[in-house]
């Protein structure tokens, strides 16, 4: 009898040890614009692999400075390529581990239905008081927005109307609350089930701005963690790519 109990206890111990060695948890920093698809992807990832992932959402710039100062993140899904490159150059991320997981699409959006026309003529027609965009110094979507305005030769004309959000999330808030009549936001913010879900929008043609490449990178913290490498692999799998597309992103060529 006693032997049986001991045997059972040993089995249980073994099981829990193997659990901890095979199913691990990784800590991931995610650019805010990718929060919705990433949550979905992680749900699938946990089901498929048994590993789990803790997600933190925030701005890429803030994550980079935190990572260079000892934060425990193991993966960065950045909003640009600059952040991962800097982390590799400064020796905090694994060289060669970076790849483009999504290409963001820029959209000129208004919360008012019918306000923005399908060709974006409203930009030259005017009649609005505020045009929101993300700070080009801080957000790649802001850089793309400025490229669009430059390409349309509207930058000088509209400069006085520009209000900057510190992130694409804030630009979205300016427009969604109606404080800015329209603004450049990320398609993923206004996209649901394959179409723009509210207000009116002009999806900016790709030739008007350089592609907004969002890169992922493995940090040196995460090299030993099987969950971290597994998640990066899963991010390139078909189910993950499906979700990324559904939220209005393009995939890397």
């Amino acid at each position: 009898m006693f032997k049986n109990i001991l045997f059972g206890f040993c089995l249980f111990l073994l099981a829990s040890i193997s659990q901890s060695s095979f199913a691990a948890t990784t800590i991931v920093a995610v650019a805010t614009n990718f929060s919705k698809p990433m949550t979905k992807i992680v749900a699938g990832f946990e089901k498929a692999t048994g590993h789990s992932a803790n997600l933190s959402f925030g701005s890429t710039g803030k994550f980079v400075s935190q990572m260079e100062n000892g934060s425990p993140f193991e993966i960065l899904l950045a909003a640009d390529e600059k952040g991962p490159e800097k982390l590799i150059k400064d020796g905090f991320a694994v060289s060669g581990s970076q790849f483009i997981y999504a290409v963001g699409k820029l959209v000129l959006w208004s919360a008012t239905p019918g306000y923005v026309d399908a060709q974006g003529k409203i930009l030259s027609a005017g009649g609005f008081k505020h045009l929101a965009l993300a700070d080009p110094k801080l957000a790649p979507y802001g850089v793309a927005a400025i490229e669009v305005l430059n390409g349309l030769k509207l930058q000088d004309k509209l400069q006085a109307l520009i209000v900057q959000g510190e992130s694409i999330a804030q630009a979205y808030q300016f427009v969604s609350t109606g404080n800015a009549e329209l603004g450049f936001v990320s398609l993923s913010q206004v996209y649901d089930n394959g179409k723009v879900s509210s207000g009116s929008a002009w999806i900016i043609p790709e030739e008007l701005h350089a592609p907004i490449k969002q890169a992922a990178v493995l940090l040196k913290n995460g090299v030993q963690n099987p969950a971290a490498t597994a998640l990066l692999t899963y991010l390139k799998s078909a189910p993950a790519l499906e979700i990324i597309k559904k939220y209005g992103y393009d995939l890397a060529q």
């Binding site: 701005s59 710039g61 803030k62 980079v64 400075s65 800097k86 008081k129 505020h130 929101a132 700070d135 110094k137 801080l138 520009i162 209000v163 900057q164 959000g165 510190e166 804030q170 808030q173 300016f174 609350t177 109606g178 404080n179 800015a180």
Partner: protein, 228 residues
């Protein structure tokens, strides 16, 4: 060194803080006085409302201000109706936001100072022919001087250091709403650490000097005129 854009944000910040502090004192003084003296049932609710900005995280407060002052918000509709347009992304929107955000830092020290005076000096003033209005200026204000100095310091510094609200309702427009705290934040976010250090250093130095002068003044005045 400081770029001229950085310098502009410093000047703008002190302009916002100066105007906001002036408004806070003008509005906060009667409000604090009323709160100290009233026995109205509204005392509790108003006190709670005044303290609310302490509870809400600044960016959350900023978000609600953005909604309230926007074209569909109550305040926005009022300002539109008054022909003022909407307040977000304007200098005065920033002032309004700062006033709301800093109000407990001005009202509460004043309330404490007024409560400490008690009603006795006011009764003495009344028996010496001073109307309530008169006695407020001739008795309450001088006796509450330390409270006024504290309220001014806290109101001003809190507005200078305020970030979340202006980030939300400012729109980062140079010379209009780009204040120093947002500028430092942007430098840090853009990994321009040297610029951030310079600007933060100047802000600290200036603020320290102002505070030092005020506090030494406060000490001197309590020595020559002991408050009991």
């Amino acid at each position: 060194m400081l770029s001229s854009a950085d310098l502009d944000t410093l000047l703008l910040t002190f302009k916002v803080a100066g105007i906001a502090t002036t408004i806070l004192l003008l509005v906060g003084t009667p409000l604090a006085w009323w709160l100290t003296r009233t026995r109205s049932v509204w005392k509790g609710p108003i006190n709670a409302i005044v303290a609310l900005p302490l509870v809400l995280p600044p960016t959350v407060l900023g978000f609600y201000l953005l909604v309230l002052m926007g074209p569909t918000g109550a305040i926005g509709q009022l300002t539109n109706w008054l022909g003022l347009g909407t307040l977000p992304f304007t200098f005065y929107g920033l002032v309004v936001g700062s006033v709301l955000y800093s109000i407990p830092f001005v009202v509460q020290p004043l309330q404490t100072a007024f409560a400490m005076i008690g009603k006795q000096p006011l009764e003495a003033a009344a028996t010496l022919r001073a109307s309530p209005f008169d006695s407020f200026f001739s008795v309450v204000m001088p006796l509450a001087k330390p409270g006024f100095i504290t309220a001014t310091i806290l109101g001003f510094t809190h507005t200078v250091g305020e970030f979340g609200v202006v980030l939300m309702i400012g729109g980062n427009i140079p010379n209009k709403t780009r204040v120093v705290s947002v500028q430092i934040y942007n430098h840090v976010e853009a990994l321009e650490y040297t610029d951030a250090h310079w600007l933060a250093g100047c802000l600290l130095l200036f603020s320290f000097t102002v505070l030092l002068i005020l506090y030494t003044q406060l000490k001197a005045s309590t020595v020559t005129q002991p408050f009991k």
